[in-house]
Every structure is written in C-alpha cells, then in structure tokens.
Symmetry: C7
C-alpha cells in the first residue's frame, strides 16, 4: 500500500533527518516538528556543505518551500 509522504515524515519525529534544500545547502538534525507545507523544525541542527558540518544552528525552522528532500 502507498505510504503518504507526510506520514513518513511523521514517523521520523524525534529521529535524525537530513534535509536538502534548493541550491544544495543541507541541514542535519533531530526532527521535532513539521506541518503540511513541509515546514520543518530541527533540533541540534548543523548546516552541511559537501558532507561536512560548517555551522551549528541548534534549533531551526526550515521553510518547506525550499525543501528538495528529507531523508530519515
């Protein structure tokens, strides 16, 4: 049976996720929340460039409009 994208997101709550954005930036952190626009809340988030953490953002709200993929 088909899994709805937002259900998959829901199952990833409190787990680490990788969020890829338009333009190539990525963020890694613990998924603490989301909404139907795929706006997401990450805790202990790091900004990642070429696989390497380049900045610690801690708590961060990412606007769904920029999201390319979310990988649990």
């Amino acid at each position: 049976m088909a899994q709805r994208p937002l259900d998959v997101l829901h199952k990833s709550l409190d787990s680490p996720v990788l969020v890829g954005l338009k333009g190539g930036r990525e963020y890694r952190g613990t998924l603490k929340g989301y909404d139907m626009h795929m706006n997401v809340v990450l805790q202990n988030a790091d900004e990642i460039k070429d696989g390497t953490p380049v900045r610690r953002l801690g708590l961060v709200i990412i606007r769904g409009d920029n999201v390319v993929f979310i990988s649990p």
Copy 2:
C-alpha cells in the same frame, strides 16, 4: 483513452523509478508513496549524477515542487 499522470504514478508503486529534479539532480529508488502534489517517497534511494550513483540516501521524501519528471 487518456491516462492520468497520477494513475501512472500509482501503478508504479513498489517498482523502481527515476526521479529528475530541477537543476539536474536525479534520484533512483523504489516508489513507496506519493500524494497529489507529486511529493514522493523512495526506498533504497540513490542520488545520481551523470548517470552514476554518488550517494545512498535510503528512505527519502522528495518534494513535488522540485520534480521535473518521474520515469517508471
């Protein structure tokens, strides 16, 4: 008779698909879910550059907004 795009997507559930995104990135994996915005869920997904897998993402939710094509 005309085939509706989402019906074609539905028939591809649990089958391998290639997903092409804006900017040229592609993902290959097993289609596990989708919704009406063409958000899709892939399992065992690889990121592809110039035809070669460059990164294993495993489970991944791709936001429909970025999708250019999906090829079963």
Copy 3:
C-alpha cells in the same frame, strides 16, 4: 473560434509530441495522458539535447510546472 489549450492537448493523445522544459531540456514521445496542470504522460520518450536524442526514458510523467511548450 478560440481553441482551448487543453483541447488541443487532448486531440494530440496517442500522437507524437515535443515537450520543451524550463532550462532547455526537451522530451519527445507519444502523448498518453495529461491533466489540467499540464502534467503529461509520454510513452517511448527520449530526452533531447540540441535536437539529438541523448537518453531513452521510455514511459515518463512530466510535471506541468516545468513545461514551456508542447508541440504536437
């Protein structure tokens, strides 16, 4: 009398079409379906660059959001 764009698309079902996308990529194939967002389904689709087929995709769903033109 005015011809509605989607009616022209409808008349092209089961016929070869050329689909031009943002960024210049083009796809040629047999139009098997479409919806009101101009999402289209092509069969036996080839990706075209500078007039030359560069990749065979076979069955492909193209998201209307990326479509610039469709030429029957």
Copy 4:
C-alpha cells in the same frame, strides 16, 4: 476606459502574435486559442532567437506561466 488584458488577447485571435518567454526565447505564430492562465495556442509557430527564426514548431501550446509578453 480600461481594456482588460484577456480581452486584448481575444481580439488577436487568428492574427499573428509575438510571444516573449522568460529567459528570452520568443515564438511567432497565429494565435488560435488561449485560456485564463494565458496558456496560448499558436499555429505555424516559429521559435525566434535574436530576431531570427531558428526552428519551425508548427502547432504549439505555450504554458502561460512562462509568458512575459504577448504582442499582437
């Protein structure tokens, strides 16, 4: 009195128009149809680059989303 943009388009039916797209591509052809999204249907359409026809497309549906201007 103000002329509504779609009324001006309507009056151009069966007449030659120049359609300018985002990114600079232009198409010239006979306007055969349109809808409220400014999707248009051109007949005997040529793709124009720097004022010169570079490709004959014949019948073409152009997605309004890409249209910058239409000049009757």
Copy 5:
C-alpha cells in the same frame, strides 16, 4: 490615507508608464488596461535596455507575474 496599489495603477490609465520586469528588461508605453494580477496592456510600447529603446512592440500585453515595478 493609504493608496491602494491598483488604484494608483487605475489613475495612470491612458498615461505613459515605465514597466520594469524581472531580469532587468523594461517597457515604456501608454497604459491602456490592467487586471488584478497586474497583467497590463501597453500601447505604443518600446522595449528599453539601459535606458535606450531597442525595439518597438506597439501593442503589448505584459504578464503581471514578471512585473517588478510600474512607474507612472
């Protein structure tokens, strides 16, 4: 009191306006019409580059989606 943007546009009917688009193109002409999406109709319109008219378009419908500013 606040002036609504579309009211200001309405007062400019039959007057010359400069329309600036995304990407830097500009059009100068007589405003003959508009709608709520800021689609506009210009008469005797010239395309302007770096302050110089580079092409006469005459009557032109400009899609609001591309408009950055309109200056009466």
Copy 6:
C-alpha cells in the same frame, strides 16, 4: 505581544522606507500605500545600487512578489 507585519507596514505610511528586492535592487521613497500582497506604492522613489541613488522613479508601484524586505 506580537506585531503583525502588515500592521508595522501600516504605521510606516507617509514615512520613508527602504524596499529591498530579489536580485539586490533597492528602492527608497515615501510609503503611500500597500495591500495584503505587500504590493507597495512609493512616492519620490529612487532606485539604489550599492547604497547610491542611480535613478529617480518618482511615483512607483512595486509588486510584492519581488519584495525581500521593507525597512521603515
């Protein structure tokens, strides 16, 4: 208590504002109007590049879609 963005805009009516657009262009002028899409009307507006006025536009309607920030 939270201040709503449009209320802050409303309080800036008849005062000078700096409007930053996508792509880096900025406009400075007296805010004479706005609507819920953040379309704004500026009076005595100057186009600004790198902090320097490069063109006087006078009265100008700026489409909200292009606005990055408005600073009273």
Copy 7:
C-alpha cells in the same frame, strides 16, 4: 509530540533570531512579529554576510516567501 513550526516561531518572540534568505543573505535581530506566511518583523536588525554584520537596518519586515530558515 510534534512541535508546529509556527508555534516554535511564536515562542521566539522578543528573542534574537537569525533569518536566512534565498541567495544567502542573512538577518539577525529581535523577533517582534510574524504571520502565517512566515513574514517576520525584526527589531535592531543587521544584515549579515559571511557571518559579519554589513549593514544596520533597524526595524525590518521580511517577506516570508524569501525565508529559507529561522533559527532562534
């Protein structure tokens, strides 16, 4: 339990936040307001480039459409 993105934003009222925009510009300031589009109001805002304040904007309304992330 899931935290909704706008609730996290609400809890950051009157606290310093970092706002990252499309194209890489960032703003740091005290969050004074927001709405459901993620339009935000910052007080004592600085524009940041490569981690360094390059311009003081003071009070600023940022259009949600441009927001990539907000980090409390």
